[in-house]
């Protein structure tokens, strides 16, 4: 399987086929992320627990959680990954 789009002859080109458009989405996401942090200055945040009140707590926590999740899962792979037919003998 190639990384390049195996566009069939005569098939229409999709917007997402262009790498530049994908990057537009990425920058769009980064912009919205930034906006959501800026919004903290304008929105009253009701807080049930002091940790919640830390600046951009949810943003940092979500980002950190996902990075830790993925990096730990990669390590987990070394421990538990086997060939596809491991149980099939």
């Amino acid at each position: 399987m190639s990384e390049h789009s195996p566009k069939k002859p005569g098939e229409k080109e999709y917007w997402l086929d262009k790498q530049a458009n994908v990057m537009k989405l990425v920058y769009g996401l980064a912009t919205i992320c930034a906006l959501s942090i800026i919004a903290e200055f304008f929105v009253h945040r009701h807080v049930d627990h002091p940790w919640e009140g830390l600046f951009a707590f949810y943003g940092f926590y979500g980002f950190g959680a996902c990075v830790i999740l993925v990096l730990l899962a990669k390590e987990l792979r070394k421990l538990i990954m086997r060939k596809e037919d491991y149980y099939d003998e």
Partner: protein, 560 residues
Amino acid sequence: MSSMMPFVIFYLGAVAALLLRGKTRTVVMLCVPLIGAFNLMHLDSGVTIDFLGYTFEPVRLDKLSLLFGYLFHLAAFLGIIYNMHEKDTLQHVSGLAYAGSGLGAVFAGDLITLFIFWEMLAISSVFLIFARRTNRAYGAGMRYLMINVLSGVILLSGVILHASETGSIAFNYIGLTGIGSYLIFLAIGIKCCFPLLHTWLVDAYPESTPGGTVFLSAFTTKVAVYALARAFPGTEALIYIGGTMAMFPIFFAVIENDLRRVLGYSLINQVGFMVVGIGLGTDLGINGAVAHAFNDVVFKGLLFMSMGAVLFRTGKMNGSELGGLYKSMPLTTTFCIVGAASISAFPLFSGFVSKSMVMVSALEEGHPYIWLMLLFASAGVFHHAGIKIPFFAFFAHDSGIRCKEAPWNMLIAMFLASVICIYNGSFPALLYSMLPMPVDYVPYTSAHVLTQVQLLLFSALAFVILKLTHLYPPELPSVNLDSDWIYRRFLPYVTGCLGGMIGKVDRLIRSETMTIMGDLVAMIERQHGVKSTMSKTMQTGIMALIVFSVLLAFLLVMMI
């Protein structure tokens, strides 16, 4: 008013599905949940039967059982539409019987009735797994059956002990008070996928047919959640068990290649939230658990439907083999994204209004670390179910697969499920009005919307950055070991070794015995065999001489 027990309608439907074929069968099957729901609206409460000194209550109606009752009718209706194209009688009969068993269990007012339907759930549903008709499905189905039937046996033992301790078989609050209650707790825990007891689910569900998995995802675990909410609300252990359940499966989900197995892990993760809510035992916690169970059946069903459609059209389910399907299946892609947004708890989608009830309750009850775990799990579920599922199936690199859009009946089922996800997320009042406890929770506050959006956006940003920097683990054709390794590899290995050892000892004893016997025979042969000392033939004269000598010797001795 009606007094038809809800499960009877489904069991009769199963018989009809067995006898009928073609369009007639489809129409009859579609009518079953509709008639069932109508019956439920007009159902009489509580017929009790006294038998052998115990009170049996086959149908108990209250807000909790009714909510699950309507939910199961809805799930069955969606599942039947989704599976309409299917000609396989086995799946139709099994699906209806399974839904009926789920209804029987949630309306059970006594523990014996619960036990009967507990076992019926296992027996009726295993055929949905066998229906895939592959060796893998057969093996997984047998393991599924053994573990689920075992859960039933443990339940029955617990019920017998509990009845002898308390003198009652009523299915009400039990709590962890005696050995019987612990057994009941364990039996529910198996069906509820407590950590280490969970592997039957991720083993068997992905091996079922496209439609079979949609049915399977709806009933068994939710019956277990219902049973916990009924018998063990406020049990502190559940808070920690649920927190673990919400956490550990996401690590497996990130590296799993089979996308329906990824959904299996995220099912356990979502049930974890419900278990925490039940463990907290507050009005908000219980309401959150039950509301989330309702939403989960619909959005998890929707996600399994979209993946089932992909499997149906392409014959593939591994992330490593899929990609770019949005070009061929744009509607399925859209519905999958709705399901993904709902499970990730985006504002306006159903998860948003129910998951947070459990989390707020955890904070209010003074469990900030559990709250942090649930928040981690929320980011994680967005990561693997919200992004990974749609991304690797429909986007990622183009696999070159071009196929038809899903059949129209699958699209209708997915459309209806999407509508319910968005409706419940945007207008939660109807769902809240059905909850067992009074509700004074407001999901749409500016703080909640903003914080949740931040959490999700930054999780998405993390995914994008990890993907662009190639730190994200690629989808690889592989199997990941889980605790089922213990009974699939370790125990067979140990018994194999034991068997081998016993064999060796046995062989040694046999061969030693044979040698000793051989020696013995040879010795006897030497003494008594042909021409040996003891079997020599002698002449009469010699005999007479010997006798004469003996007598002479005797005479001499006597004379001296």
